[in-house]
Symmetry: D2
Subunit: 337 residues, 4 copies
């Protein structure tokens, strides 16, 4: 059994890592750390994780007994911790934004802080696009939740030079805001409501752009909305065709790109990707494949923001780093209904 | 007191008309009709409307005792009934799609049926744009729910030639699907989900286009999503500027257009239109007023689909037809939280 | 026009008072106070209340220009403020628990603090039971939200000596927890969940007992549950008959007790009180009227916790204090769906 | 690998059986039957189950190739099918009510139909109470969803003669109503609402009584409520102590009864069983352990109605029938948040 540890394990991504890792056939969780909850049993914070025997400890990054360490720490914190872990010889999957940018200047612009670890470079942890880089890496930068759904549903459009402009209109569940309550997550403000936010300036826009607009300078825009959903990101992309393609050619581009990808499911004609179909699972459902009379292509995707958008993808990356079956511990289906 | 009647009063729009008309200072409801519920007291179908004394009757359109008749009937049915009501001398506010199109050929294309009453023309019942036409009319075509939110939040953009392309991405509550249960409205399919539908071909697209793209042939696209909300339509419009304007100029165009409009509220900087702010009310909240680095303007609106998107706007039109205060019976605020 | 002021107007009950008072035909709101939001326009905190011209002020209780003052202040705070307001000659409707108890020792036990104003006694503000006392009062203690639904649906049972034990099992919407976010009100903890709390020791139990168990020492128990609902309290009471009565006699006791009460609606046979039927309104729907094979009577009620359970009832009490129509400003129906 | 088949596999319990069986280490699904969907691939009905290769077939009960057959058929249908399956030598787990009653007269009273298979007797499939009977059985009657949560949380109370009366007040998610839409499951009727139903006469009351009131004739009452939740049943039991016990003795009775039970988790003091903690899992969380001043004991439980309340428990029973590890395929944790 490989040994894994989680730094900052008291949040939702920590809980999700535990939920899946405790049933993973080839790893055992050796350490879960938390400064705030030092000494607290896991189930007091994650009430669904019973009888794991795990207790939060306030351990230093270099005191962990692990082959792979997940850093479920906020941006800014990860870049202080990750170098120390790498020094111990452990590999790292970082769930923050700190190592996602090829150009740290972009990071510094959008995250508003100096990047203090320009030495270590993370592989961008989207296995469907970067599997080979991840295999060779010691550090994987797990992508953001919005970018995962947006990039996977748009990548074939730009790779094939079909479009010159993409509008990403995303609707996210509230668990994306994390475990700490705020006015934004107050039930009466969310239920029966739709809350657009950072409508022209969400920092995930830069991460999506990094992956998509290298290709012939496609213009990429992004607007997120908070919807009364616990888990899941539904992404609708509206893009403008610059090639005269048919709906069949559109679909074929996706089939070709994602052939053999276990976690990507392309919807049949008439099927819509639903959040419930992927709830709790690592699958990505991609559909849409329509072109309207104004030459707009409409693509849709659904992911669980805490799984393929965070902890599940992190485990997928861990599996690749460990050289084991990429789907190990991740084969469960979504929880529909 | 003026007399009003409702044909097809057993659905949600019928219930909403009753809720507001029974507290209206200048009208009394004389008749509510329903074939299915002939003889049934109102509160058996609309459990919130107690002690109104009203009973559904299966009356013919020309048997009603009314100054104004609301036809809350499905498209196709209205065009058979409306001419008969107009013959009695009553005025009509029709809530179906039948009289919304200047060109009945567009109707016939999108609604898939022959239009059998090409003689009577309805004023398009968006008072903020067509108040003068409505005043003179005998028949008002109450706009669709999606078009109301979409047109009002985009009209100044096209009137001022700011843009050449608009993507309308709308999120609607489930009451828009009506009172009859279906797989689409089954609680386990809606809750914790986001369901895009008719993503490139919803018939309301044609109604929005009619109002917006006369101006220099602006290309208008539309995609609706069903969200786990009972009431409300949140609309995000993404449009591409063809003039070099500032955010202030953008806002000023809206302030100028909607100056003095009682039901339209423009959000301050930093405020977001929320469905809860307009829930149950006839107000429209419009916000956004942002331009991103790709030259995309983002506008937002929130309405209650059953009120400003249907029954409230119908009463507003009735008030204009009767020559009374346009806001009578409609001054209540939204139900936040 | 009578003048009214609201102390502590920034919470949900303050927002609801404004929502209804601004459309009230016989009063005007002169002052809204808040220490925290001194100088802030009302709509920044209550986004549905636009263009009221009202601004929060940090005014002292004796600086208000009002015939009636609502104290929407926490328990403990009200008893410090109320005596000062009464000294100005204004009447007071207090929404806290401070003046609800005939015996301040009970208050001190359940609220865990000394009662510092034993001189002023409030009329218990449940007009359907205490209308005459309220008429003569200068100070009305507006009842708690749970007690309002529980007492009204159980009172005829105890008044007629039908039962010797009542279990009140209540399900409440989250707005009852107030406007301040906490782990308890965090969307992911509430949605798709049912959270029982203080299952044998909620302080509202003592308020219900005060009103119900004087009668032959009926034993009253109470357990509240938080459900994924914004507004509303659904109460199910299970009680054990000590008289051999029929379902008809059970119903007749309620019909007799509540004859002529505008805000109380008794459901027909087969009808269930629904939260949506009273949402946003001051009505109480009472139903159930069943007796099972073990001799248990089941009664049900539905109220809006912020209206009949707080601000609506407070306005009803204000109307009585002012000697105007008890229903003024409160005739709107519930928002169904 | 053992072979299993599902009759009536197109409903929610069928989908849940598939979700868990397809990841079960020791069985393979050979047949899924449906008359309505003959020839349809599984994912068209269960959109989360992709690439299973399974197709619904309209097969007769005696044509199945299986060691164990699940009959996910309505009551009335099961008793016609089960004898034919047993004749083939396969064992059966029946999810209907048909074989749950020791006395078929009780069945006939509550289900309103003649029982046509009085020959075959099912073991009552609550392994925590009847493991030995199940081991020896060919036919297991999987318990109802409400009874599972109610019986497990109340059984130690009656076994130890602590109480003489139990009120079971249950709150259920909407998936319990099945996959077919109706007015009851229409989103606008469920969301933001609490709907009590069959408040004194739900047929599950008789199943709970069968298991609980043999002991000294304890009186058992039951009232269910539909709440805006997809999955889960939260049960609150209020019961009246006839022994003078402490809270510690109350807890110890549960600890003793459920010692070593993998799927039953007793909450620590101060912990509340939450639906989210068991969502999608086969665990039962039991808490409460309080006694109020009127001598009422309050117990709480949370289950997933589709898992421990249906398909998960059915698989647990299958594991026992097959003589394999009782927890196989069922070790995944709940989906919190």
């Amino acid at each position: 059994m490989y040994k894994v540890a989680i730094i900052g394990a008291s949040g939702y991504t920590g809980g999700e890592l535990l939920r899946m890792l405790l049933n993973h056939p080839e790893v055992e969780v050796t350490d879960i750390t938390s400064r705030q909850y030092d000494g607290t049993p896991a189930h007091k914070i994650h009430p669904h994780i019973r009888d794991s025997g795990l207790v939060f400890k306030n351990k230093a990054p270099d005191e962990l007994d692990a082959d792979v360490v997940f850093t479920a720490t906020p941006h800014g914190a990860s870049m202080k911790i990750v170098p120390k872990i790498l020094d111990t010889g452990a590999k790292v999957v970082d769930l923050s934004g700190d190592y996602r940018y090829r150009d740290t200047a972009v990071y510094e612009k959008w995250y508003g802080m100096e990047h203090t670890d320009k030495e270590n470079k993370g592989a961008f942890g989207l296995p469907e696009l970067y599997r080979d880089e991840i295999k060779k890496a010691d550090l994987v930068a797990n992508p953001g939740c919005f970018p995962t759904g947006a990039i996977l549903s748009s990548y074939p459009l730009v790779k094939n030079d079909f479009v010159d402009r993409i509008i990403i209109d995303s609707k996210t569940g509230v668990s994306g805001a994390g475990v700490n309550p705020s006015s934004t997550t107050h039930y009466p403000n969310i239920a029966d409501n739709v809350n657009p936010y950072k409508i022209s300036s969400h920092r995930h826009m830069s991460e999506i752009q990094q992956e998509l607009h290298g290709f012939d300078d496609v213009k990429v825009s992004f607007t997120p909305h908070l919807v009364p959903v616990i888990r899941g990101i539904q992404t609708t992309s509206h893009s403008f065709l610059i090639k005269d393609i048919t709906v069949d050619e559109l679909r074929q581009a996706y089939e070709k790109e994602y052939k053999g990808e276990y976690f990507i499911k392309l919807m049949d004609e008439g099927e819509i990707p639903h959040l419930s179909s992927v709830r709790g699972s690592n699958f990505v459902h991609i559909g849409g494949f329509e072109i309207d009379e104004t030459g707009r292509a409409v693509m849709l995707s659904a992911i669980d923001n805490l799984v393929k958008g965070a902890s599940g993808q992190a485990i997928q990356n861990m599996n690749i780093l460990l050289g084991i079956d990429e789907t190990a511990g991740l084969t469960h289906f979504g929880l529909h209904p």
